[in-house]
Symmetry: C2
Subunit: 481 residues, 2 copies
Amino acid sequence: MATDGVLTPQGSDFPRWYQEVVAKAELADNGPVRGTMVIRPYGYAIWERMQAEVDRRIKATGAENAYFPLFIPESYLQREAEHVEGFSPELAVVTYGGGKKLEEPVVVRPTSETIVNSYFSKWVQSHRDLPMLVNQWANVVRWELRPRLFLRTTEFLWQEGHTVHATEAEARDFALEILGEVYARFMADVMAVPVLTGRKTARERFAGATTTWTCEAMMGDGKALQMGTSHELGQNFARVFDITFLDEHGAQVHAWQTSWGVSTRLMGALVMTHGDDAGLRLPPALAPIQAVVLVVRAEEGTVAAAEELVRDLEDAGVRARLDARTDTSFGRRVVDWELKGVPVRVELGPRDLAKGEAVLARRVGARKEGARPEGAQKETVSLGDVAARVRTALDDAQEVLAAEARRRRQDATTEVSTLADAVDAAQGGFAVLPLAVLGEDGESRLNEAGVSVRCIQRADGTLPDEADDPAGLVAVVARAY
Amino acid sequence: MATDGVLTPQGSDFPRWYQEVVAKAELADNGPVRGTMVIRPYGYAIWERMQAEVDRRIKATGAENAYFPLFIPESYLQREAEHVEGFSPELAVVTYGGGKKLEEPVVVRPTSETIVNSYFSKWVQSHRDLPMLVNQWANVVRWELRPRLFLRTTEFLWQEGHTVHATEAEARDFALEILGEVYARFMADVMAVPVLTGRKTARERFAGATTTWTCEAMMGDGKALQMGTSHELGQNFARVFDITFLDEHGAQVHAWQTSWGVSTRLMGALVMTHGDDAGLRLPPALAPIQAVVLVVRAEEGTVAAAEELVRDLEDAGVRARLDARTDTSFGRRVVDWELKGVPVRVELGPRDLAKGEAVLARRVGARKEGARPEGAQKETVSLGDVAARVRTALDDAQEVLAAEARRRRQDATTEVSTLADAVDAAQGGFAVLPLAVLGEDGESRLNEAGVSVRCIQRADGTLPDEADDPAGLVAVVARAY
């Protein structure tokens, strides 16, 4: 492959490979304050597409965007006991403002339940105000001692939804609509990342929630990544922030709530799910550049012909880019576009042009599901057919990436029946363990062995319910990011 | 008018009117930490449209979005002398993180020149990397002692562009492209807010810039609001952050830079430019709801017919909303939609429906330019014509709002020839004073009298140039927000 030596191979050191791809594909840099991150234009363009797709799906549920302050009085966080306990160790605290020491220190939001709910308390009066469905896109800060770009950063970007409902059942339904119809579908259809959905154990639950639902994906090294969570908050915050409403019978009752979020961590998931030893492989739905037209040598009208190809592609609805930087070697440019994961390259040299042809190279091959990646596949296409062939290649690429990720998870998922086997199997993927085997202290023993319960599901992979017989439930166990 | 008494009239107390509109139209609330702000869903929906329009225009210049950290080491700010002097009094400082006192305190970004330029220094190597055009949408913090929602808040949302160029002329051209083609055009065409563009005096210049260009608009009370600025930074930051590049002749030279921004302050401009005693009046290009269909009474099929009207409107590309809350009085709902500034109401009662008609009420009348606002105009329209008539009404409204704002500025702008007359004229609008009259200490004398130089222009209103004879320049003087 053209990229031998550009990156540490995944197989020899996956974390190092990750770090190198993020840097060399120009996705992100470390910030000067430990744990902070600069998202570079190429990385941010991918994030913007994720945002647009998630935002559209959130709005389709009826939720509206709003914006709450970055600064929260310290006293707000202290109102919900579990919440403050969960977040205190990670807080950044502002003690000086406008040249003076502040009377009450303010925390930089680690999440916004406390401040949002203090407003819901004012805005919610009657059952007619419900459901109240609010989302915000914002930065949050959780001081991070072992930072990794996108995966764990002191500051990250996310959306956080906060809702108020009249009944527990409505709150649960909404939390699950977000989990399934918004998050899991976006991840599968747009990111081409299949996810398991399930319930978190009490230990892994969000601080202040009664139930946390999660989307869990398997990365290229077999480890799990929590991709997004949707929490039922019960009446915990409604009680401490006094969110009550007049119900249809004239009674003043506490509301039921949810909160839910996905973050720039999704960028890490994208890299670690689809990347290979040549670099990123972007699903076309998220690729800022879906096809790049490379001029091999700027001779005999190749540049003009390449420009025309770019226009053809744009007319066909393809996000196309011209690369006529012929003062850089062709090989180096190919390596660079492979690193950046552009799904399709169209290569045009003087000899191709003379024959009325171009070479189409796919970053993701049109392979059968499960075949091993073998680098880009090439084919010769007549110039008039380029746009149509690229469209087909893009459709293929989106499908193939999803199929490869599904297959990898399938191949690396093992049903086990003991804790020891779960720990073993989790070294290379997911272990599915009967919940009954986990017992009272099983989770602690797994954690001591460096693995964790990612989620609880029914044995058929569907979501559990309080009414379920625990004997029919399983725990998905894995190493995790 | 239906809204008598809902709001303090503009004429009796404009600041109070502003505060009431922002609250009653549900645009924003004060945050718990002094000077912070909650942007409510209705306000945020307007801001999202502004963002989308500005973002599209910024991208059309070739700039790309990115994201830089919220936290900046204190030492970074201190590198550029004027910059740190300008921003130090407004900084919020984080001294604790992750439960520990930090070795070096970090400031919450008041603006991002220092951190962005520390990365440009790494990313810019050769003239081939230029121009480098980066923008970010972010929150920034400047501790505010006299906060007012949207106009002056401790935290606000904005975009900040940062660019690097090979020559001073290219940097200036780009700063002016942003000022004129992005900002002033967006303000005029989308916000329906006409702006003067000009150069700031040295006193009003951005801390660290060599030249600040500004967009200034006249609010409903005759005061000026700075709507957006575009700065030429010269080589000031390039020198302290060592941003150099290899030019075409092989020499290592310092780059030339710009920065520019508009913020949620634009929301305040929108309110104060178009609002009247009944509330907001939104330009259709920014209105989250362009037409609301009100069911007068839920009888004899009015709800079904209103739903059909909403579908007709949506099919015609109108952002329409049904209001069938007939358990709230019709009058109160009308007042509410007027407060929220929805450009067109379509009212449908049983008698209208029986005649196959609806009543169309315009929030902004189809008046002749300069006529006094007299509240909504109504007309009866047959149901089949509603969508087409609403479209026409929306086109009219966008034009009429812009024309009214232009006319008001024209009427309240006075050419003067002495400082005393400038102070007088600025009590009710803009005073245009020959620059020569301003002299050495004129600006101080104006400031002492509570007015300021908003910008320097040529006498014909165009942008000045270094080569200009100062005798041909004027200072626009006004009270300002």
